[in-house]
């Protein structure tokens, strides 16, 4: 055959993601409408989980406000469209910018701290968003939230399937951008800051600025997910952005494998598929099972599912290249 060893290795490495993308792209052919809806939810929250993983896994910042950033974009989008009749083309970018601006503000306040104190202050700031959504009834609808938000009005008659494709394309673009960003020198400097910030300062990096920019970008991607979600779900309530939701996103990242980008989406898939089946059989006990997931994820799967799958796949694709990969990655 005309294939060199390197090409073969690359083909082997890309095979799982290709299969996954093909499966997702052809989903309407093999899945019924409730599964399509579930998949839409999974890939939307996948973007959110990846945006969190960017600061959580790569940068090592324990953010506990990503669900709040997500809901900032969702609320801004819904308010602009419902109260001001703004078109989707304007509302969506403004909402994403609003989430990025909130992230920048939170980072500016929070980056005075590190570790557990960063977590606590982002938790407090996230709850602040929740409270604003709760109290500011005129715009946010208070505890009732905002409802009957339609699919984006962009000249296409959306059905659940076409909205799935719309979401799928945007999610794919986001994932590729995030992937390239994490492969860039900027992405590697984030890893450097996670491993040894003092040394990064010593070799001349402005680590504060790196963290600030990374957090802001991360907020923008959380915003993309928020905008998609509000059109998917049609309703947005304050608790979408509370600390419990932020904890859930963190658990998705942990289950999937922190610092592996795609892991967050896989973790989200595991949680939501489980939730889907539990809701069929015993919806009352879902919180109990979710809590058990939290405990099990931390006690037993701390490395995450995705890195483990990756390791097995590489072992299968030949021990030599697996060894090289593990040394690089």
């Amino acid at each position: 055959m005309g294939l060199t060893k390197a090409t073969k290795g690359r083909l082997f490495r890309l095979a799982p993601s290709t299969v996954l993308i093909v499966l997702l792209a052809t989903a309407p052919a093999w899945a019924d409408i409730s599964i399509i809806s579930l998949l839409t939810k999974i890939i939307i929250f996948g973007v959110l989980a990846m945006s969190l993983d960017m600061v959580f896994g790569y940068l090592g910042l324990w953010s506990f406000c990503h669900a709040a950033l997500f809901s900032v974009a969702a609320y801004v989008d819904a308010i602009l469209i419902q109260h001001f009749g703004v078109s989707f083309w304007l509302a969506a970018p403004v909402s994403i910018l609003a989430a990025a601006a909130a992230a920048a503000l939170f980072a500016w306040i929070g980056l005075r701290m590190s570790g557990i104190y960063f977590l606590l202050i982002t938790l407090a700031l996230g709850q602040l968003v929740f409270s604003v959504a709760f109290v500011w009834r005129a715009f946010t609808g208070g505890s009732q939230g905002l409802s009957s938000i339609s699919y984006p009005n962009i000249g296409i008659e959306f059905s659940p399937v076409s909205f799935y494709y719309f979401t799928f394309v945007i999610v794919l673009v986001c994932a590729v951008i995030l992937h390239l960003l994490m492969k860039s020198p900027f992405g590697y400097s984030l890893r450097g800051i996670r491993e040894n910030e003092t040394r990064m300062i010593a070799i001349g990096f402005n680590t504060w600025m790196h963290k600030f920019i990374a957090f802001t970008i991360s907020g923008a991607f959380a915003g993309v997910a928020g905008v998609l979600y509000v059109h998917y779900n049609g309703i947005i309530i304050p608790s979408t952005g509370d600390m419990a939701s932020s904890g859930l996103i963190t658990i998705m990242v942990i289950i999937g494998g922190a610092g592996s980008l795609w892991g967050g989406m896989i973790g989200g898939a595991i949680i939501y598929i489980l939730s889907y089946f539990v809701s069929l059989f015993t919806p009352e006990r879902w919180p109990l099972i979710l809590g058990a997931c939290f405990v099990a994820a931390v006690m037993f799967f701390r490395g995450g599912v995705y890195p483990q799958l990756l390791r097995w796949w590489r072992l299968a694709s030949g021990a030599k290249s697996a060894l090289r990969e593990s040394r690089e990655g």
């Binding site: 324990w62 202050i121 409270s131 658990i251 942990i254 006990r285 919180p287 979710l290 931390v298």
Partner: protein, 287 residues
């Protein structure tokens, strides 16, 4: 003027409840480095069990004891089964204990149903005293009395007893303590149990100023308790007391004059303190 007095007084009684919850959280964080997010769920555990016992027996004292005991027991199991393997892994502790908020709330839903539970107020304490044109509940006075007794006692234990000295030393330098032949493990277990019991007790008596308890208490309470610990400072009784009273009084006064703003009080206090005085009002200075 009377409005201010009543508002400050009810803020203080609310503050005592916050103090009982936050003191435990603060000590567990200071001594063992554990962030127990399920601490609020222990308040709920104590509240539900204690109020049911109190309503069955007609005795607030029995109810308080039952609540404290059950919360302490659950806390003890939580520490022995899970947290003890996660010392120094603060993020993991947060996530595991976060899971227990869900688990405990769902178990309570299972056992007690989803209705909110009213506080138990013994008929002796059902009255109120008159302050100017306003009245103030006797039960709230009792809570303030409990705070006035418990706070000095806890302070005395912290500053004047041998166990208090061991705890303070354990916060500063556990390795040195080990070198001196003191085993911190039983101290840790005892502190965790005591913290959980205080939380459970706070749930039973706090149900009144909180306006009854619901299954969401675990989440509501933990956020307030964390805010109190951050405002007051980690690892000291006086810090938790200062933080809790500040939080209670500010919330209550804001609730009287600017109800829409009351919900934001914990955030503003917490963010302001973290920016301008990260060690908290009366925290142990960062060694």
């Amino acid at each position: 003027m009377d409005v201010v007095i009543v508002s400050v007084l009810s803020g203080m009684s609310y503050g005592v409840v916050l103090f009982l919850v936050a003191a435990g959280l603060s000590f567990v964080l200071g001594l063992m480095g554990i962030v127990n997010v399920a601490h609020g769920a222990l308040v709920m555990t104590g509240a539900y069990a204690g109020i049911h016992v109190a309503k069955a027996t007609g005795s607030l004292i029995l109810g308080g004891l039952a609540g404290a005991l059950l919360a302490g027991l659950v806390g003890f199991l939580l520490e022995r089964a899970f947290l003890r393997n996660l010392y120094k892994f603060q993020l993991e502790q947060i996530l595991v204990t976060f899971g227990f908020i869900y688990i405990l709330a769902n178990i309570h839903l299972w056992v007690y149903g989803s209705w909110p539970l009213d506080a138990f107020v013994p008929s002796v304490l059902n009255g109120s005293v008159v302050i100017g044109r306003f009245s103030f509940s006797v039960f709230r006075l009792l809570i303030m009395g409990i705070g006035a007794v418990l706070c000095p006692v806890l302070w005395w234990i912290q500053d004047r007893t041998r166990i208090g000295a061991v705890i303070r030393a354990g916060m500063d330098d556990p390795d040195m303590l080990a070198v001196m032949g003191i085993n911190l493990r039983p101290v840790n277990i005892a502190v965790f149990f005591a913290a959980a019991s205080l939380a459970g007790f706070a749930g039973v008596i706090g149900a009144f100023p909180l306006g009854g308890v619901t299954l969401g208490l675990g989440q509501d309470m933990i956020f307030l308790a964390i805010a109190v610990v951050v405002v007051g400072g980690v690892g000291s009784i006086q810090g938790a007391f200062a933080g809790a009273l500040t939080m209670g009084v500010f919330s209550s006064v804001a609730g009287t004059y600017l109800p829409a703003a009351a919900i934001f009080v914990p955030y503003f206090l917490m963010v302001a303190i973290l920016i301008f005085r990260p060690q908290g009002l009366l925290g142990r200075s960062e060694a």
